[in-house]
């Protein structure tokens, strides 16, 4: 059984189609990434997974159950860390956990135990009496994550969990997520940070304008849509352009900069280094950001 199974899922808001016939599965224990530029349909897709938004057509199955009919069972078995801060600002850290647990109708003794566990796991124990309004961004996000975990979910959905956090907080959060993965929790993540997706996700899909552009393992996507090795050349001249054309190399010409995708055998690299690196060249491994930009384009989305 798949933990998540989207079958040709469509979400329309009047004339506008946010999610346009999307199918994918997430397996047990997987860390799955959902990537795409703003307006790609990621949050709409997530909202359909927990029944916040009704599915226009198609089927969204979670734990093999249809969200349309079994939303209450599904919601009691998954945790969601939403993009916005949805904590209760007037309550303390501890109260936020204890009151949230009641919505799941958990037993009192279990609630206490679970809250203690989470406070310590997310390093919030010494902040238990602090008011949420007084917490820093990193602490608030950790608390929101702890709250999403209160009912011991089988699936954790994370909608841009590290957006707006400082590097220290991001690293701490990654560390916690890696620990949860080790324990076998199934997770679905959306993020705008490609390095985050590349290092955390076992598998991911890239979507844009409501459609899936590619899906697979980060490494495979890089090999397939970008390259294992990349050369960025600043201020390219006509000779370089001619050279690249003759070699038939996969490349992108951005005017002031050329990005060449190579096979990492070193041949093209050394030729470029010898003949064309008068200004500046950057030799680096291909990454997920290359894949993302190639697939979704470089123009601004506003």
């Amino acid at each position: 059984m798949h933990v998540i199974e989207a079958r040709n899922v469509v979400k329309r808001f009047g004339e506008f189609t946010a999610v346009d016939g999307v199918s994918f599965t997430v397996e047990s224990g997987e860390f799955f990434g959902l990537l795409g530029p703003n307006g790609a349909g990621k949050t709409s897709a997530i909202r359909m997974m927990y029944g916040f938004s009704p599915v226009t057509s198609g089927q969204m199955l979670i734990f093999g159950l249809d969200i349309h009919s079994d939303w209450r069972t599904i919601r009691s078995r998954l945790g969601i860390c939403q993009q916005e801060n949805t904590l209760d600002p007037d309550l303390t850290v501890e109260q936020n956990l204890l009151l949230y647990a009641r919505y799941y109708e958990m037993e009192r003794s279990i609630i206490r135990e679970r809250a203690e566990e989470l406070l310590s796991f997310f390093a919030l124990s010494n902040k238990r009496k602090a008011k949420v309004a007084e917490l820093s961004g990193g602490l608030a996000r950790r608390l929101q994550l702890a709250r999403a975990m209160i009912a011991d979910p089988e699936l954790l959905i994370l909608d841009e969990p590290t957006t707006g956090l400082d590097p220290q907080s991001r690293h701490q959060l990654w560390d916690r997520l890696a620990e949860l993965k080790k324990r076998g929790l199934t997770m679905l993540l959306t993020t705008h940070y490609m390095d985050e997706a590349e290092s955390l996700c076992d598998r991911l899909l890239i979507m844009d304008r409501g459609r899936i552009l590619a899906q697979g393992r980060p490494r495979d996507l890089i090999t397939e849509h970008a390259a294992n090795s990349v050369i960025e050349i600043q201020g390219p001249d006509g000779d370089l352009r001619e050279f690249i054309r003759q070699r038939g190399s996969r490349h992108e010409d951005l005017g002031g900069r050329i990005i060449v995708y190579t096979e990492a055998d070193g041949a093209l690299e050394s030729d470029v280094r010898e003949s064309f690196c008068s200004e500046s060249c950057l030799f680096r491994p291909g990454n997920l950001e290359d894949v993302f930009l190639r697939l979704t384009g470089r123009e601004l989305r506003e």
Binding site: E84, T86, Y103
Partner: protein
């Protein structure tokens, strides 16, 4: 898709009510003073000011002081405002600025249960405000003991209605009932007024659910 599903309403709504209570208990000191001081100010103002001009009032075959006639209306007003304020301003803050509703809708609580909890909470606050007011009005002799205690459950019932409809509800029926319990007499039929309250609660409670569902579900 935005149909109100009555089948989605279970007693689970009480947890959201409890959340509101715990939150309120953290900030009650500020909120407690208003229902306590408001009637005191009114009675001072009307008692010292108006009663000299108006003197007595004949109501339901009785002669009474103007303040005695007016005190139940103050109770009704407080009831109305407390409930109305809660499901308009306070609920809006929870929905729009605090994203509290989004957080709750990620749990097994249904949207219907959440809105019902808001309305019941509004009614609870109305009943609490009326209780506080009676602790002033009864010792002063402006409300009869123990009859006036009936205003507390009444305030809850009326609070449901006002929580559900806000200003659509005209204060008239509530004032009449409040008066009936406070001074033991009224000119219109109490049963009719009660039915009126119940019908409004049901109709506008349903409309409230429907409107909130339309607004929240995307």
């Amino acid at each position: 898709m935005n149909r109100v599903e009555l089948a989605a309403i279970t007693l689970r709504f009480r947890h959201v009510w409890m959340r509101n209570l715990v939150t309120y208990r953290r900030i009650w000191r500020i909120n407690f003073l208003v229902p306590l001081l408001e009637p005191a100010f009114y009675i001072l103002a009307f008692g010292l000011g108006f009663s000299g001009l108006i003197g007595g009032v004949d109501y339901a075959g009785r002669h009474m002081a103007y303040i005695q006639f007016m005190a139940p209306a103050l109770v009704a007003t407080a009831c109305m405002w407390n409930a109305f304020f809660e499901t308009t301003y306070a609920s809006f803050v929870r929905m729009y600025y605090q994203n509290t509703f989004d957080g709750i809708l990620a749990t097994p609580v249904s949207l219907e249960e959440m809105i019902i909890a808001e309305i019941v909470w509004a009614a609870s606050k109305a009943a609490a405000a009326v209780t506080v007011m009676l602790t002033v009005l009864i010792p002063l002799g402006y409300a009869a003991f123990p009859g006036a205690l009936m205003c507390i459950p009444l305030a809850f019932g009326a609070g449901l209605a006002f929580g559900a409809i806000g200003m659509f509800f005209t204060g008239y029926h509530l004032v009449e009932l409040t008066r009936f319990f406070c001074i033991g007499a009224m000119e219109s039929n109490p049963v009719f007024n009660l039915i009126y309250l119940v019908v409004f609660t049901v109709v506008f409670g349903y409309l409230g659910l429907w409107a909130m569902k339309r607004r929240l579900i995307k």
